[in-house]
């Protein structure tokens, strides 16, 4: 088994390889939070780091605050081939240009105490920055802010319960031929019990169509029950009938998906020149998708090409599955053809993933063009935390922070925030799962967290 087996089950080899090759810029002095973030990144497989520190001299921090006094050596041992850390003085950041920032997958600014530093990232000349996470923890409180200078697209958002796409109301030729082949009316109880539920639903949809009767999902349910009670009452307890009844709504194409995809496509067209290579590929895919959807008389998008397991005989299920799979592959290839015109090299694997996850395509839009906009938030807890972090007197203590809780041992809180930062870093680097957008606050006293957008 692989060392990373338990996380490969979450983000696969592709995700892991993005982590293996990531290069992260860590800004901040040694602190429990920095150490916890770093530990999580190394454990996930990241090994390349650039560390920006106030002064590159020896650490001024007392060992009492840290889990281990030489933590770089200790965490290096957590990676099978050790980690590489380039140390750089913070001062060298001034005047850094695009090419400098391009080498990083991510920038993480930890427990920063100088607001001037944040101004370096104010995006005045639409400069490119990789995603920037700023974070701070004190007592039982902490926050995290994700700052994007470009949109962040997610192809694999891994929904908990993905909804299959059957298209029984808009069947393509092969599907229609296959589903009509079953002469359900002439079948006996046993044969009917071996049919996958889309066959039953299609049968009812067709019967209604012959009577010029336009179905909706409640009507289809009625139709299905009526048909089964009339012709095959013993089948009412068969698992395939129960599934058909339960999933009747899946017979119809969900129009909302097309609306959503069209919004995405328009958004893609509005994003003219993006610097991030991943984004450029997604934009090209979106443009090709726009053409794909609009080339037919009725708009249709590439099908996912998978169906979930369902009650059925092996043979019927495998045949049906194959028909969806073939159509999925065909649609993917058509999209690939349209993509050729976009002049952007997109690997076939990515086109496949794009089609297979189209329904769940997601984007986090870039944030305001100034990192320092953080200070204009009217959230009480965030304002109080910023006041403590940057030693600001102009922000009054709002009472969001309990003084006793603020003075308590902060190590577990640093560890909690280190977990959130690590998780968000992984999501941003792998383009899998949906990152939080874009402020997260933690109140360990109330055991509450909050997400809002600046």
């Amino acid at each position: 088994m692989d060392r990373y087996d338990r996380q490969l089950r979450l983000w696969g080899k592709e995700g892991q390889s993005l982590l293996d090759n990531a290069n992260i810029c860590v800004v901040g002095d040694e602190s429990p939070l920095l150490q916890e973030v770093w530990k999580n990144l190394v454990l996930s497989g990241v090994s390349k780091f650039t560390w920006m520190i106030e002064n590159t001299m020896e650490s001024s921090l007392q060992e009492k605050d840290l889990f281990s006094c030489d933590f770089i050596t200790e965490i290096s041992a957590l990676h099978p081939s050790g980690i590489r850390v380039k140390r750089k003085a913070l001062a060298s950041l001034k005047g850094a240009d695009n090419s400098f920032w391009f080498q990083f997958s991510l920038i993480i600014i930890i427990n920063c105490s100088d607001s001037k530093l944040l101004e370096l990232f104010n995006n005045s000349d639409s400069q490119y920055f990789p995603p920037i996470i700023t974070t701070f923890a004190t007592g039982l409180y902490g926050y995290l802010h994700t700052y994007l200078s470009e949109p962040h697209f997610i192809i694999e958002s891994h929904p908990d319960n993905p909804i299959p796409e059957l298209r029984l109301d808009q069947p393509w030729k092969e599907l229609s031929i296959y589903l009509t082949k079953f002469q359900v009316d002439k079948m006996n109880e046993f044969e009917i019990s071996e049919l996958p539920y889309p066959v039953l639903l299609f049968h009812c949809v067709q019967m209604a169509a012959r009577n010029n009767y336009k179905l909706t999902s409640p009507l289809l349910r009625n139709e299905l029950r009526r048909w089964a009670s009339d012709t095959n009452p013993t089948g009412l307890n068969d698992p395939n009938y129960i599934e058909a009844y339960r999933f009747a709504h899946l017979a119809f194409t969900n129009e909302k998906i097309l609306i959503r995809l069209n919004e995405m496509i328009q958004y893609g067209f509005s994003m003219d020149h993006l610097d991030d290579p991943y984004n450029r590929k997604v934009i090209a895919l979106l443009k090709a998708l726009g053409e794909y959807i609009n080339r037919e008389d009725f708009p249709i998008y590439p099908i996912m090409g998978t169906i979930p397991d369902m009650s059925s005989s092996t043979k019927n299920y495998i045949e049906l599955k194959q028909i969806y799979q073939n159509e999925g592959q065909k649609n993917t290839k058509s999209l690939q053809k349209l993509l050729d015109k976009e002049g952007e090299e997109v690997p076939f694997e990515m086109i496949k993933l794009f089609c297979a996850n189209l329904k769940y395509l997601n984007v986090i839009k870039p944030t305001a063009s100034k990192l320092t906009l953080l200070f204009s938030s009217d959230d009480d807890l965030l304002r109080d935390l910023l006041a403590i972090q940057y030693n600001l007197n102009d922000i009054a203590n709002s009472g969001a922070i309990n003084m006793k809780a603020a003075s308590m041992n902060s190590y577990p809180t640093a560890s909690f925030m280190g977990g959130v930062v690590g998780q968000e870093a992984i999501k941003l680097i792998t383009h899998q799962y949906i990152p939080l957008d874009n402020i997260f606050t933690y109140d360990g006293l109330k055991n509450e967290t909050k997400i809002f957008r600046i």
């Binding site: 891994h158 577990p412 997260f440």
Partner: protein, 299 residues
């Protein structure tokens, strides 16, 4: 912190909890785990190194702290490599807190029962908070149990994810459609119950059987490899350091709040759920006691 804490499990959560307790300067921590270290633990169980593989988790974790003077000066760690259900009731009585990072159900039911009995028999003289953390992929939970005050572990037993992967036997035997069905059949029908999943030869035999049966039913074997097969047989749950860190930290913050009297057992939430797959969602609420609970009703 002048107290004695028992940590159940020295795995992903256990390592995190032990580290946090050390950083909180808890005087003495006892840690119990009967497992040994495996390669696939090393993506999150950061107190262990490659050379520790096959060593017991509890002693190796304890040694990590005890060997480093900067850490051992704050916390003394005592390991136990044994089944915790063999401990007598008196053993549990010496602790002020018990924090669990276990994934098995029975040991947690056992500890819960022992703690409630202690509270009952001592007429509330002994009341040891039991904080239970659990993770699965990017999700996790923390339950805080104050025996006699809050819902106990048994009260919320039905919140556990239902054991999936149980397929009707007729599907598995006659109409297999997925690799899961194939593997289930091979395991329950074609192999003996005492097979050793650590033995490469036996695992390979198993794998060949799965492949043959999948081919026989024309089931796509593109996804089928040893790791996929073992995942299904062992019901492997994905696990990553970040989620473990968040859950373990929440457990320790709960403990700290009780210790410093910052928690209102009647009002504050005792159940927190975290999900990091879409944004970072957390939900804390007060889980009510089950008046008919077999363990805590009448206490």
């Amino acid at each position: 912190m002048d107290c004695k804490v028992l940590v159940l499990g020295a795995g992903g959560l256990g390592c995190e909890i032990l580290k946090n307790l050390t950083m909180m300067r808890v005087k003495e921590v006892h840690i119990v785990d009967m497992d040994t270290i495996e390669l696939t633990n090393l993506n999150r169980q950061f107190l262990f190194r490659d050379e520790d593989i096959n060593s017991p988790k509890a002693t190796t974790a304890a040694q990590y702290i005890n060997d480093r003077p900067s850490l051992s000066s704050r916390t003394k760690v005592i390991p136990y490599v044994q089944d915790l259900t063999n401990f007598p009731t008196e053993f549990f009585q010496q602790f002020q807190f018990i924090i669990s990072g276990l994934d098995a159900i029975e040991p947690r039911r056992f500890v819960n029962k022992v703690l409630l009995q202690l509270t009952k028999e001592s007429n509330y003289d002994i009341c040891i908070p039991f904080i239970d953390g659990g993770t699965e992929g990017l999700k996790g939970h923390v339950k805080t149990i104050i025996p006699g005050f809050t819902a106990c572990w048994e009260c919320s037993l039905n919140t556990l994810p239902t054991q999936q992967n149980t397929y009707p036997m007729c599907t598995v035997a006659n109409n297999p459609r997925t690799l899961e069905h194939i593997i289930e059949y091979v395991i329950s029908v074609q192999t003996s119950a005492d097979m050793d999943l650590e033995d490469e030869g036996q695992v390979d035999t198993l794998f060949q059987l799965c492949k043959e049966r999948a081919n026989q039913f024309n089931i796509d074997t593109k996804k089928l490899n040893v790791s996929y097969m073992l995942g299904i047989i062992k019901k492997i749950v994905p696990s990553v350091s970040c989620t473990n860190a968040m859950i373990a930290a929440s457990c320790c913050n709960q403990m700290m709040k009780i210790y410093y009297d910052l928690m209102d057992f009647e009002k504050d939430g005792n159940f927190t759920m975290i999900n990091g797959a879409d944004g970072c969602f957390t939900y804390t609420f007060a889980y009510d006691r089950d008046p008919h609970c077999a363990v805590c009703s009448g206490i």
